[in-house]
């Protein structure tokens, strides 16, 4: 939508929460996540995503399990933990609050 580099930090900061949102729907593996993000403004690369996911797992927002795939090696399927679900709910509330604040300040 926009390529203004000024918005880069915002996109970067939101990425973690968008991943929580993607995972919240169903268990996903990384290639799926990439595909989903590819269509949006938040297109990202493995080089960014893997370290981020490992950090989120360490902070116990997400977890993964190995699943056999029809083609190729087993894959890591990510899912939300209870902490991750709380975090996502908090984020959505906060996002709504930010929206209201921005709109109200404009008046």
């Amino acid at each position: 939508m926009t390529t203004d580099p000024k918005f880069n930090p915002i996109r970067k900061g939101l990425l973690e929460f968008l991943i929580l949102q993607i995972i919240s729907a169903d268990k996903v593996y990384v290639a799926d996540m990439m595909k989903r993000l590819q269509e949006t403004d938040f297109a990202t690369q493995e080089g960014t995503l893997y370290p981020l996911l490992s950090k989120m797992r360490r902070e116990e927002y997400v977890d993964y399990e190995w699943q056999e795939s029809e083609s190729g090696p087993p894959r890591k399927y990510y899912k939300l933990t209870a902490k991750g679900k709380t975090q996502l709910a908090e984020f959505k509330d906060y996002w709504a609050y930010l929206n209201t604040t921005i709109n109200q300040l404009g008046r």
Binding site: P5, N8, P9, I10, R11, K12, G13, L14, L15, E16, F17, V30, A31, T44, Q45, E46, G47, T48, Y50, P51, L52, S54, K55, R57, R58, E59, G72, P73, K76, Q87, E90, F91, Y94
Partner: protein, 415 residues
């Protein structure tokens, strides 16, 4: 036709063309460096290798089982640069979403030009890589740096070599791709690494050409060195002649009077140098004059010492000329007189400074703390240059370097 290398990516075998292999190696090296402090480094590296393997698989067909360099480049471009934890959550903290604490993150630093650090670069080095590293740091041609080093060596009658030795001991080598990038201050990303790897490969391939070039340069160096030595010796001789031609009783008397003047001047100059170094190392400014922020402390000290030797060199020559001029046994008397005089003046200046300048008295009253402070500041300025090297490595080399530096300082001052 191209050499093919077989690699193992997280348990999958792949055939790669050699340049492609170099690119991949550089990429993974860079990933390792970025994840250096990450507790999940092994796991992330395995994930990355698996992702690369998945991407590579799509280029393979039943009758095509080798990956070309171009295909590897495309895969690595898709992968994107591996980001360390700190850059990864710098933005997250900015949104304030309640993510974990990240005291070290620097928002907005990701896109900025990479910090420059001084390294020794072995590639294309003649001795250790000090000059190549400095050339990359200062962004000038390495030949200019080498000429400067040779000139400085000649001007300081060889003392500058000790500075070189000191740098050889202290300045770390650029080993990883990331360190190479930091040496030149180049922005570091996957494409950059690929380009550099390719260039390196190209140079390696033409190593015959490379060797020839190197030999030629070495010959050139020897020539310059000889010429320089000749010039220096010739100049000194001329100096001596100039003084001795005006000899006779008057010249003798003039020389006798000149020596105290030289002694006083040299002693005062020496005190000024020491005071300037102390002032610089304790307050970061020379008598209140602030040095440009980007120059590390140890470089400023070297520059100061250089200026000192530039000023004292003609004086030294004049003194030598006087010694030679007087000739015979007088030589020793003059030398002894000069030494006694300059030491006396040195003590006098120190005493005057101690009694009249509160700053100097203050410095000597808290001598140990101040020396510790200076030492820490100087060591810190090295650490800053090599900030992501483990501290233990530099600590082991510092005493040796300090010894070399102080020896060079001492010799430069007393010859």
């Amino acid at each position: 036709m191209n050499t093919v290398i077989i690699i193992n990516l997280n348990g999958n075998a792949f055939h790669l063309e050699e340049p492609g292999f170099k690119s991949l190696q550089a990429y993974l090296e860079r990933a390792q460096a970025a994840l250096k402090d990450n507790p999940d480094k092994v796991e992330i590296m395995a994930d990355l290798e698996q992702a690369i393997a998945d991407k590579c698989a799509r280029f393979l067909l039943p009758h095509k089982n080798v990956l070309t360099a171009a295909e590897i480049d495309e895969v690595l471009k898709e992968m994107g640069p591996v980001q360390s934890e700190n850059t990864a959550d710098a933005g997250a903290a900015g949104t304030g979403g309640g993510s974990g604490p990240n005291p070290e993150s620097k928002p907005g630093v990701a896109g900025a030009g990479a910090p420059k650090r001084l390294y020794q670069i072995r590639e294309g080095a003649m001795l250790s890589g000090v000059c190549t590293g400095l050339a990359a740091y200062l962004n000038v041609d390495v030949t200019i740096v080498r000429i400067a080093f040779v000139l400085l060596t000649l001007l300081t009658s060889g003392i500058w070599i000790l500075v070189y030795l000191g740098m050889m001991l202290v300045v770390p080598f650029a080993n990883t791709g990331e360190e190479h990038a930091a040496a030149a201050g180049a922005p570091f990303n996957a494409q950059e690494v690929i380009d550099r790897a390719k260039k390196h490969y190209g140079e390696f391939k033409d190593s015959k050409e490379w060797r020839r070039h190197w030999r030629q340069q070495r010959r050139e160096w020897r020539r310059q060195w000889r010429e320089g030595a000749y010039w220096w010796g010739h100049n000194l001789q001329r100096n001596v002649h100039a003084v001795s031609s005006s000899a006779g009783y008057g010249g003798h008397l003039g020389a006798t009077l000149l020596i105290p003047f030289l002694a006083v001047f040299n002693a005062v100059l020496f005190c000024a140098l020491i005071a300037a170094i102390v002032s610089l190392a304790t307050t970061g400014a020379i008598f209140g004059w602030v040095v440009a922020g980007s120059i590390p402390l140890w470089v400023s000290i070297l520059i100061l010492m250089f200026f000192y030797s530039m000023i004292s060199r003609p004086l030294r020559h004049a003194r030598r000329a006087i010694y030679f001029n007087t000739g015979g046994n007088n030589f020793y008397w003059f030398a002894a007189w000069y030494e006694i005089l300059s030491t006396g003046v040195l003590i006098l200046v120190c005493w005057l400074a101690y009694t009249h300048l509160p700053e100097v008295r203050d410095f000597f009253q808290h001598f140990t703390q101040n020396v510790t402070l200076m030492w820490n500041n100087i060591v810190d300025s090295f650490h800053h240059t090599v900030s992501h090297k483990p501290a233990s490595g530099i600590d082991a080399r510092l005493p040796a370097a300090a010894a070399a530096a102080s020896a060079s300082a001492f010799l430069a001052l007393r010859t």
